[in-house]
């Protein structure tokens, strides 16, 4: 094996009594693409933050290029040739590409010479690695795929030999992700070392040379990618066997429960986000809406659930119209049997500062079951919350615990339990398993399919193509505010990917 680019020896890091990293040993070979997988909270980000100088390890040693290194700040890491591309880009939106590249690396008070130097250096980098970006483009006008490229260029400009990418494909279309992978391979060929943090096992299989699995703060295994399988990695991540694709029978679709006709929605800036959309959701089927984030799915969900006012269009719930353009009230829709699991559970679906039991009635707090006159019926609320905790295996099972202290998966279960247990006729779900660990994904998918089998109409919006394909009976693809295609559950990923990227004529493309 080639010489190690990075060696981590016996790394420990605790936050109070939580041991985020324990005794981590990891060797990353120079000139390889090394994947690190693990569930949320397994300690991947902590480990990388130690490597990049955001945190200090409590004990242990870091060696870069064989030499012991002391990394106290990100500047130390940069000096050692370590660059990081964050999940959320660290770019100044209204600066040009060039200005972002030199930010923090300006050499003198007057920018003229720095900019000239940066421009020629940037051109060299772009040529060498196939990373074409217009240096004078303004960041906010670039698509996310290009913004990410700027982040990579930024790291390379600072002389990065080792590039850490944290969940890089979360915001990309499949085509953009493929392009990113081509870039990473090119970087590898040029001798750079790439560390890829992800929870998407398919990507690991597609691009990495070596993969390390973390679970609960420990490094449980390192495998050569060619000699492992997705199933093995999933089992290592969770610590038990998991079903990656939930079994489900044929849909027995009935009558139309939710009919959306010519719906148009604008965002707060007045930009049309949902453009004249029409579709139905029938009883006993799951309709999945696929699409790259930001193509109007969020606005569609908000409009149909009454949170955001629609500009025009009509929606029929159980054959009766809902006034979505006037004073649609989420509370009234709820009364009429439309339940909504919002995309953003931290700010919309839950109040994180509340106790679990308080969140288990959010939106249903008008229900006489939970009230005694103007007062909350605390006994009834607590009993109800405990009941849901039991049924949905929410852990820790303490209804008095602050909601912020639950893991992502358990928070999502709190929302799902609340909405499903009201026995709604129509359930709309945004990003059912975003930030949810593998074990809980299986549980949530089973619940949604059970809803379908009880004859409910389920509408799922997700940016995870795998999830859409595994759940949906019908798949609608959204692009630029329109539905650009409808497919069955057996549609291939390539086919959906093209639709998601806005390629209109699928026959020609296939």
């Amino acid at each position: 094996m080639a010489q190690a680019a990075i060696e981590l020896i016996g790394i420990n890091k605790s936050f109070g009594a939580v041991r985020a990293n324990r005794d981590i040993n990891l060797e990353i070979a120079r000139g390889t693409i090394h994947g690190i997988v693990g569930e949320n909270g397994a300690g991947k980000s902590t480990l990388m933050s130690i490597l990049y100088g955001f945190y200090q390890a409590d004990s242990g040693e870091i060696r870069v290029g064989g030499k012991p290194a002391s990394i106290k700040t990100p500047n130390d890491a940069i000096a050692l040739g370590i660059g990081m591309v964050h999940q959320h880009f660290m770019l100044v939106d209204n600066f040009s590409v060039l200005e972002n590249i030199i930010l923090g690396a300006e050499n003198d008070a007057l920018l003229k010479s720095s900019i000239a130097k940066a421009r020629s250096e940037l051109e060299r980098l772009e040529r060498e690695y196939g990373l074409e970006v217009d240096p004078d483009a303004i960041i906010e006008e670039l698509p996310v795929g290009l913004q990410q490229r700027v982040e990579i260029l930024k790291a390379l400009y600072r002389g990065a030999e080792i590039l850490i990418l944290d969940e890089p494909t979360g915001v990309l279309t499949p085509a953009e992700a493929d392009h990113l992978f081509r870039i990473l391979r090119q970087l590898k060929e040029q001798g750079k070392t790439v560390v890829l943090i992800t929870h998407k096992l398919r990507e690991i299989m597609a691009i990495t040379d070596t993969v390390s699995v973390m679970r609960q703060g420990t490094m449980v295994a390192t495998r050569e990618t060619g000699k492992t399988t997705v199933e093995e990695l999933a089992e290592l991540m969770v610590g038990r066997r998991v079903l990656l694709r939930v079994e489900k029978g044929e849909a027995a679709a009935g009558g139309v429960k939710l009919a959306i006709k010519n719906l148009t929605v604008r965002d707060s800036r007045g930009v049309t986000m949902v453009d004249d959309i029409s579709f139905d959701v029938r009883a006993g089927e799951i309709v999945g809406i696929a699409g790259v984030a930001g193509n109007g799915q969020s606005e569609l969900l908000e409009a149909v659930s009454g949170i955001r006012r629609a500009v025009s269009g009509s929606v029929m719930l159980d054959g009766k119209p809902i006034d979505l353009t006037g004073n649609a009230d989420p509370g009234e829709l709820r009364d009429r049997g439309l339940a909504h699991v919002p995309e953003d559970r931290h700010h919309v679906g839950l109040v994180l500062a509340f106790e679990e039991n308080e969140n288990s009635i959010l939106g249903y707090h008008d229900d006489p079951r939970y009230l005694r006159g103007p007062f909350l019926n605390i006994d009834a609320i607590m009993a109800d919350a405990s009941d849901k905790i039991e049924k949905y295996d929410i852990r820790p099972g303490n209804p008095r615990l602050k909601t912020a202290n639950f893991s992502g998966g358990n928070q999502q279960k709190i929302v799902l339990a609340r909405e499903i247990e009201q026995d709604p006729g129509v359930l709309i779900v945004g990003q059912p398993t975003r930030g949810v660990d593998v074990g809980a994904i299986e549980f949530i998918h089973k619940r949604l399919i059970a809803m379908r089998d009880q004859g409910k109409a389920v509408l799922v919006v997700s940016v995870e193509l795998d999830e859409i394909r595994s759940l949906s009976d019908r798949i609608l693809v959204m692009f630029a505010g329109r539905i650009v295609g409808e497919r069955g559950p057996d549609a291939t990923e390539g086919e959906l990917g093209l639709l998601m990227a806005g390629v209109e004529h699928q026959e020609a493309a296939l």
């Binding site: 009594a17 949320n40 980000s45 009230d329 994180l352 939106g363 707090h365 615990l401």
Partner: protein
């Protein structure tokens, strides 16, 4: 990994940290006292003795505390709904108008126990209506409530000055105030309660509105944590988006919360007006509304905390007056500096020492910070 520090046990959270903050405030205040050439220890003794040493002192302390309980509760109710009501001062001031109308109309005909309920309703109503306008502007027009309530303080002050030098002033009087109320609008004193414990009271303004303040503290607790309305207010306060999702009307909740806040602010006026001065005079609120902000913050927006914080500020007011009297080098302004330091350390810098204390707790006794529950459960 977003919260490296878990929470502290309740006794440390609500007892130890405020105590440390207070101690630091007093130590810094001690340096200020030394700067003007006085002995800080003796000053501290005079301050505490002035506030709690004699029956009269205790009665005055509780009288001031009454005022601060009302304003503190007012700020807290709005804060639970995510609204920063800086207009408590003006709402209390203008409520004096409601009280004046009731008292001047009925003090010759009704006994106090009939005038009092009428005055409570009038003060609460006027305070609530004064808060309604900024609330409406916030809910419907998006005008920021901090700005509008500040401006409404000035408007209230100007209106009151106009009324007290004009229509409400008895003809021929030189003082900018209403005529003195008759017995029918004088609240009974509560000094006898302190005298039960053997203390002697010469003359002190502690009156029955102290009991009203305590009752309101209980009602506010009931409202915030036990009613549907309180639940909706807290939901909106933590996350307006979640409130929208839950079908809670933004307009309704903002207006309701602000009117309750204004009503509590208005009731504050009962204490000095009917309990002490027996007239409505210019600037009778004298900053109590702003002290209410500090009281609410220090009391962690909880009625029990607010009552305790109000007592502390009552002590600073009463003990501070004694101190200014006993130590000529310490002027009235010095007392304000000491009060300011308490506000600074207990309110504004409340979280300054928290991380250290949390780290200390975590290293000595991990279980006490409840961390093992999180371990291994994922983020």
């Amino acid at each position: 990994m977003s919260t490296p520090y878990a929470k502290l046990p309740a006794w440390a959270d609500y007892g130890l940290i405020p105590l440390i903050n207070l101690s630091v405030a007093f130590i810094v205040a001690g340096f200020v006292v030394m700067l003007v050439g006085e002995n800080p220890l003796r000053a501290a003794v005079i301050l505490v003795e002035g506030a709690f040493g004699k029956g009269t002192g205790i009665a005055f302390t509780l009288f001031y505390a009454t005022t601060f309980i009302f304003t503190g509760l007012s700020v807290a109710v709005a804060a639970h709904c995510g609204l920063f009501n800086i207009g408590t001062e003006g709402q209390a001031y203008i409520a004096g108008l409601g009280i004046a109308i009731v008292c001047l109309s009925f003090d010759s005909t009704l006994p106090w126990w009939l005038t009092f309920p009428l005055a409570i309703v009038a003060s609460a109503l006027v305070g609530a209506l004064w808060a309604l306008i900024p609330a409406y502007l916030q809910a419907k027009r998006g005008s920021h409530i901090v700005i509008t309530t500040i401006m409404f303080n000035f408007i209230a002050a100007s209106i009151m000055v106009y009324l007290l030098v004009g229509p409400l002033k008895p003809a021929g009087s030189q003082a900018p105030q209403t005529r003195n109320f008759l017995a029918g609008a004088e609240l009974p004193k509560l000094n006898w309660i302190i005298e039960l414990f053997g203390a002697k009271i010469r003359s002190a303004p502690l009156n029955i509105s102290f009991l009203l303040a305590l009752a309101m503290a209980f009602l506010v607790w009931l409202l915030i944590w036990r009613t549907k309305l309180g639940y909706e207010m807290r939901t909106y306060g933590h996350s307006p988006k979640a409130a929208r999702y839950a079908g809670i009307s933004e307009t309704r909740i903002i207006i309701t919360a602000m009117m309750i806040s204004g009503a509590l602010a208005g009731m504050m006026a009962l204490n000095p007006v009917m309990g002490d001065q027996h007239n409505v005079a210019i600037d009778f609120v004298s900053g109590a509304g702003f002290v209410g902000i500090a009281v609410a913050l220090m009391g962690r927006l909880h009625p029990v905390g607010i009552v305790l914080a109000a007592m502390l500020f009552g002590m600073l007011y009463q003990g501070g007056a004694e101190l200014a009297f006993e130590m000529p080098a310490i002027s009235r302004d010095m007392i304000v500096i000491i009060q300011g330091l308490v506000i600074l350390f207990a309110g504004a810098l409340e979280h300054m020492f928290r991380p250290y204390i949390q780290a200390l707790f975590a290293s000595f006794s991990p279980k006490s910070v409840g961390m093992q529950a999180v371990n291994g459960k994922g983020a």
